[in-house]
C-alpha cells in the first residue's frame, strides 16, 4: 500500500508541475535573411537612375513579394549596382558587405529574355567576377524579363562561369528573382 501511496503522490506532483506555463519563445534575430534586393542602374552618359526593387519582408512563405520594375532607354549603357538589405532589422542590415567580404564564395548571374547584356565590372580576391558592380547595355526596344541569381559557393573555375554562364556553376541559390523590364 505504501508504494501505491508513493505513486499517487508522484502523480499529484506531476499534475501540479504541468499546470505552470512555459516561457514565451524568443523570436530569433534573422540577421542572415535577405528581404530586399535593389538593382540601381545609372546611365554612364549621365541622367537619372532606374531602380529595380524586389522586396519580401516576411521571408520564405507568407505573403507575396513586392516587385518594382522600371523602363530602360534603348542603346544605352548603365552602370549597375546591387544592394542587399535585411529590413526586418532596424536599422536595416546591409548584406552587400557580407557578399563583398566573401566575394570568392559568391557570384551573381544575369540573364534576360530581351535585348539586354550584362557584363561584370568588379572582381574578388582572385580577380574573378562577383557581380555587385556591373555594366548593363540595352539594344533595340523590347519587353521581357531580367533574371538575377546569386549563387553561394559556386565553382568559379568551371568552364564559362567567369563569363556569366550559370550552367556549370553549382552551389546553392541564395537569391533568384525576376523583373519585367521594358526597353523603349
Amino acid at each position: 500500500m505504501e508504494t501505491i501511496k508513493l505513486f499517487s503522490i508522484l502523480m499529484l506532483g506531476l499534475l501540479v508541475f504541468i499546470s505552470c506555463e512555459k516561457d514565451d519563445p524568443e523570436i530569433p534575430n534573422e540577421e542572415e535573411l535577405i528581404t530586399t534586393v535593389t538593382y540601381t542602374l545609372t546611365p554612364t552618359s549621365g541622367g537619372s537612375a532606374v531602380q529595380l526593387v524586389y522586396k519580401d519582408l516576411d521571408g520564405d512563405g507568407g505573403s507575396a513579394p513586392v516587385i518594382t520594375t522600371g523602363i530602360l532607354q534603348m542603346g544605352t549603357t548603365y552602370s549597375g549596382t546591387l544592394e542587399l538589405l535585411n529590413e526586418t532589422e532596424t536599422p536595416a542590415g546591409n548584406l552587400t558587405e557580407e557578399i563583398e567580404e566573401e566575394g570568392d564564395e559568391h557570384q551573381f548571374f544575369f540573364s534576360s529574355t530581351t535585348n539586354i547584356t550584362v557584363a561584370y565590372n568588379d572582381g574578388d580576391a582572385n580577380g574573378k567576377p562577383v557581380g555587385l558592380e556591373t555594366l548593363l547595355t540595352t539594344g533595340d526596344a523590347g519587353m521581357g524579363k531580367l533574371k538575377i541569381v546569386l549563387r553561394h559557393q559556386p565553382d568559379k573555375n568551371a568552364s564559362g562561369v567567369s563569363e556569366g554562364n550559370i550552367s556549370n556553376a553549382g552551389g546553392e541559390t541564395d537569391i533568384e528573382i525576376e523583373f519585367d523590364v521594358t526597353i523603349q
Binding site: T3, F7, M11, L14, I18, P25, G59, I99, T173
Partner: protein, 715 residues
C-alpha cells in the same frame, strides 16, 4: 536507384574473451532439463552453452541435455531458446551436476513465437525479432538498417548515415520506438531524423503488432519497435566481448564492447560503442561529406534487495555527427532539378576524407531509467518506472559569413515518463497486464539559429491507462486489450505575419485503442494467428503547426491546426507452416483502413520567395487504406547450409481522391545463403553468408494501379 544494395562489411572480427580460467580433473558432467516458465512445457533444441570453455549442448526433444568431460571449477552457463530470454547462471562443479533450467518467454512473443529447424541454434527463425548475435554482427549499421531484416520492415533513407524504420508502410509519428521500456522521445516527425539508439546496446530488436503493443505509450498505429535489454546474469564473474567491424565502403570502423558482472550484491553492465566512417563511394566518385562519427555509452545497474524487491538503474548516452552529401544541399527548385539531372554531384572531391562539414547533423540523446520491481508472489509483480530523456538536435547548413558553425535548426526536448504496471497470472491459463502512465514533454527551439523555426515550442502532458487479458483454452490462445490516452498540448508559436508576436494555442485529444487476437494450431505443423485492432492517433506538432521552409525536403510546409485524430482499423492474419522438418513458410497478410489519414499534399502553386520558387506542401487528411503481404521462406537442404528468402509488398490508397499514397516502400525481396562450415579447433560458430536485396521498380506498381486509374501527374 540501384536494384541491389551492396553493404557487405569486409571483415567481421568478433573476439570473445574468456576472462577467467579453470582447474584440473576433467571428468565431470552437467545434465538436466529445460522447461518453459509460463506453460511448463519442455523446450527441445534449447542451447546450453558454457561461456568459458565454448562447450555446449542442444536439448533433445524431451528438453534434456548433457555436457561431459568438464573440469572442476566454476562455470558461467548460458541457456537460450528462440523466443525466450537467455538465462545466465554460474555453476560450481565439484562432481557431476544435475540442474534444470526454466526460461521466460519474451512477454511480447507469448503468442507469436515461431520455432523452425531441428538441431542447431543457427537454423531457428523468429518471425519478428533479431537476436543479440545478429545485432552484434551488424552493429556498424543503423537501427533501421538492422530492422530491415525483419520482413515487413523497410528503411527510409536520407543519405548514407540516416535511416528510419518503416513498418507495414507507416513510419515517423506512427511507429513508436521503445528504448529499454521507455518510448523514445525526440524529433520523430522528421523524415531525416533517425532514431537515437545504438542497436548494440539491445539484447534483441523486435517489431510488435497487435494487442501486446497496447502497453506502450506513443502511437502504435503502424507498429511498435522494441530495443530491449535483458537482465544481467546471476553469476558473479566478469564476462564480456569486444567487437571490431571494418566496412570497406567509407573505411568505416566500429569498435564496441560489453562487460558485465552479476552477483548477489550489485550487478552491472557497461556498453560502449565508437564508430567512425569517412566519405562513402559510388562506383565512379566519392560522395563528399557523407562520413559519420558516433560515440555511445550505457550503464546498467541491478540490485536485488530481497526476494521480493529489486531495482534497476539504467543510463545511456547517444552522441552522433552525421555528414550530409554536400552536393545534395540546394537552394530552391531550380537547384533541385539541376542536382537531380547531373551525372556527378556538385562539390565531389577526388580524395577520400573522414572530415565532416556543413551540411551535417549533431544529435545527443540521454536516457535515464529507474525501475523498482515488487514481486510478492511467483505469479504477480508490480513495477514502477521513471524514464527521463533529454534530446538535443542541431542541424547545420552551408551559410554565409562563417555562420555554417551556427546551427540552422536547434531543438531541445526534455521528457519525463512515469509508469505503474501490474502483471498477474491469475490462473494457470490466464494473465492480466495493466498499468497507468504519465508523460510530459517540453520542446524548445534555441534562438541561436537566427532562423524562424519550422515547428513551434510546445509542452505536452499525457495520461494513459491500459489493460490486457490473455488466456489459453485448450489449443486456443487469445488476448483482448484496451488503451486510453488523454493529451493536452500547449503550443507557443511565433506569428507568421509581421510584426512577429507570440501566439498561444491549446489542444486536448482523447485516444482510444482496442485489440483482440487469437492463435490456433490447426495441426502440428500449421499455426494460424489473427488479430484485429482499432487505434486512434492524435495529430502531432508538425502536422498541426509546421510553418516555413523545410530545408530537408526543399519545400514550404504548412500545418493545419484543425486536423482531427486518425482512426484506424487493422486486420492481420498470419500462417506459420513447417512444410517439412527443414522447410518453413510464414505468410502474413494485413489490411488497414485509416480514416482521416494525415499526409503532406503538394499544392498546385509554387511560392515565390527571394530565393526563387518553392513547392508548397500542406498537411491534409483523407480516408485511406493500406494493405500488403509479407512472406518468409526458409530451407535447409542439408546440415550446415541454409537458404532464406523474404518478400514484402505493400500498397497504399487514398480512397477519397482515388490515387495511391506517397512514401509507400517498393516491393522487395531479400535472399540469404548461409554456410556453417563447422568448428576449426578454437574457431567456433563459424559462418559465411551472402545476402542480396532486390527492390522492385515502382513501375510494376504503376501497372498494378493502371487497372484502377493512373493519376494525372504520371501521364
Amino acid at each position: 536507384m540501384l536494384p541491389f544494395s551492396k553493404k557487405f562489411p569486409l571483415f567481421v572480427v568478433i573476439l570473445a574473451l574468456p576472462l577467467f580460467s579453470n582447474g584440473q580433473p576433467c571428468t565431470f558432467s552437467i545434465s538436466g532439463q529445460v522447461t518453459d516458465k509460463s506453460t511448463g512445457a519442455v523446450l527441445p533444441f534449447a542451447t546450453v552453452y558454457l561461456e568459458d570453455t565454448g562447450k555446449g549442448a542442444i536439448s533433445d526433444s524431451a528438453g534434456f541435455f548433457r555436457i561431459e568431460n568438464l573440469c572442476q571449477g566454476i562455470y558461467r552457463v548460458s541457456v537460450s531458446h528462440i523466443g525466450c530470454e537467455t538465462k545466465k547462471e554460474s555453476l560450481e562443479l565439484n562432481g557431476n551436476v544435475t540442474t534444470n533450467f526454466v526460461l521466460n518467454h519474451f512477454t511480447e512473443f507469448l503468442n507469436e513465437v515461431v520455432v523452425h529447424g531441428k538441431n542447431s541454434d543457427n537454423t531457428t527463425q523468429i518471425s519478428s525479432a533479431i537476436s543479440k548475435g545478429e545485432i552484434q554482427k551488424k552493429s556498424n549499421e543503423n537501427l533501421a538498417d538492422i530492422l530491415e531484416n525483419i520482413q515487413g520492415v523497410s528503411a527510409l533513407r536520407n543519405g548514407a548515415g540516416i535511416s528510419k524504420p518503416v513498418v507495414h508502410g507507416l513510419f515517423g509519428n506512427r511507429v513508436s520506438i521503445i528504448n529499454n521500456g521507455i518510448t523514445q522521445s525526440g524529433q520523430q516527425w522528421g523524415n531525416d531524423h533517425a532514431p537515437e539508439i545504438d542497436p548494440f546496446i539491445a539484447d534483441h530488436l523486435a517489431v510488435v503488432k497487435g494487442t501486446s503493443a497496447l502497453m506502450y505509450s506513443g502511437s502504435s498505429l503502424g507498429g511498435v519497435v522494441l530495443a530491449d535489454m535483458k537482465n544481467i546474469g546471476s553469476g558473479d564473474w566478469l564476462t564480456g566481448n569486444f567487437n571490431y567491424i571494418l566496412q570497406s565502403n567509407g573505411w568505416g570502423n566500429t569498435l564496441n564492447t560489453q562487460l558485465e558482472k552479476g552477483g548477489k550484491s550489485l550487478s552491472w553492465r557497461l556498453t560502449g560503442t565508437l564508430k567512425a566512417r569517412g566519405d562513402t563511394k559510388a562506383p565512379d566518385y566519392f560522395l563528399t561529406n557523407t562520413g559519420k562519427k558516433e560515440a555511445d555509452f550505457a550503464l546498467q545497474l541491478e540490485k536485488k534487495w530481497t526476494k521480493k524487491w529489486n531495482t534497476q538503474f539504467y543510463y545511456s548516452l547517444f552522441n552522433t555527427e552525421i555528414g550530409i552529401l554536400r552536393g545534395s544541399h540546394i537552394g530552391n527548385v531550380t537547384d533541385l532539378e539541376e542536382a537531380l539531372y547531373r551525372d556527378e554531384p556538385f562539390f565531389t572531391k577526388d580524395n577520400f576524407s573522414y572530415n565532416i562539414n556543413a551540411p551535417s547533423q549533431k544529435v545527443i540523446h540521454h536516457l535515464l531509467k529507474v525501475k523498482i520491481k515488487f514481486q510478492p508472489t511467483e505469479n504477480t509483480f508490480v513495477d514502477f518506472v521513471y524514464g527521463g530523456q533529454l534530446n538535443n538536435r542541431r542541424e547545420f547548413d552551408v551559410r554565409r559569413s562563417g555562420r555554417s558553425d551556427i546551427p540552422a535548426l536547434s531543438l531541445e526536448q526534455t521528457s519525463h515518463f512515469l509508469q505503474g504496471y501490474l502483471f498477474s497470472q491469475i490462473t494457470q491459463n490466464s494473465t492480466i497486464k495493466t498499468g497507468v502512465q504519465g508523460n510530459y514533454t517540453d520542446n524548445t527551439n534555441n534562438p541561436e539559429t537566427g532562423i524562424l523555426p519550422l515547428i513551434p515550442d510546445y509542452r505536452s502532458y499525457q495520461a494513459s491507462a491500459f489493460f490486457i487479458f490473455q488466456n489459453t483454452t485448450g489449443k486456443l490462445f487469445y488476448e483482448l486489450g484496451g488503451r486510453y490516452d488523454f493529451e493536452r498540448l500547449n503550443v507557443y508559436a511565433i506569428s507568421h505575419t509581421l510584426p512577429r508576436e507570440i501566439e498561444r494555442h491549446y489542444h486536448s485529444f482523447y485516444d482510444f485503442s482496442f485489440s483482440a487476437g487469437a492463435k490456433y494450431p490447426v495441426s502440428q505443423s500449421l499455426t494460424t494467428n489473427i488479430n484485429v485492432g482499432y487505434t486512434t492517433r492524435s495529430p502531432e506538432i508538425n502536422e498541426l503547426y509546421s510553418y516555413g521552409l523545410h530545408q530537408g525536403v526543399s519545400g514550404i510546409e504548412e500545418g493545419d491546426p484543425d486536423l482531427t485524430p486518425e482512426k484506424s482499423v487493422k486486420l492481420v492474419f498470419t500462417a506459420d507452416w513447417n512444410i517439412r522438418k527443414n522447410m518453413f513458410v510464414q505468410a502474413l497478410g494485413y489490411f488497414q483502413q485509416i480514416d482521416n489519414f494525415i499526409y503532406l499534399q503538394p499544392q498546385q502553386e509554387l511560392r515565390l520567395t527571394i530565393r526563387g520558387a518553392f513547392p508548397v506542401f500542406i498537411y491534409e487528411q483523407a480516408n485511406s487504406r493500406i494493405y500488403g503481404t509479407d512472406w518468409l521462406f526458409s530451407y535447409e537442404p542439408f546440415h550446415g547450409m541454409k537458404f532464406t528468402a523474404k518478400y514484402a509488398s505493400v500498397r497504399g490508397w487514398n480512397r477519397e481522391q482515388n490515387i495511391p499514397l506517397v512514401n509507400i516502400p517498393s516491393d522487395n525481396l531479400l535472399g540469404t545463403v548461409t554456410w556453417f562450415p563447422g568448428n576449426f579447433q578454437k574457431f567456433q560458430k563459424n559462418e559465411i553468408s551472402f545476402t542480396g536485396k532486390y527492390v522492385f521498380s515502382p513501375l510494376l506498381m504503376v501497372i498494378f494501379f493502371c487497372r484502377r486509374q493512373l493519376p494525372q501527374t504520371w501521364s
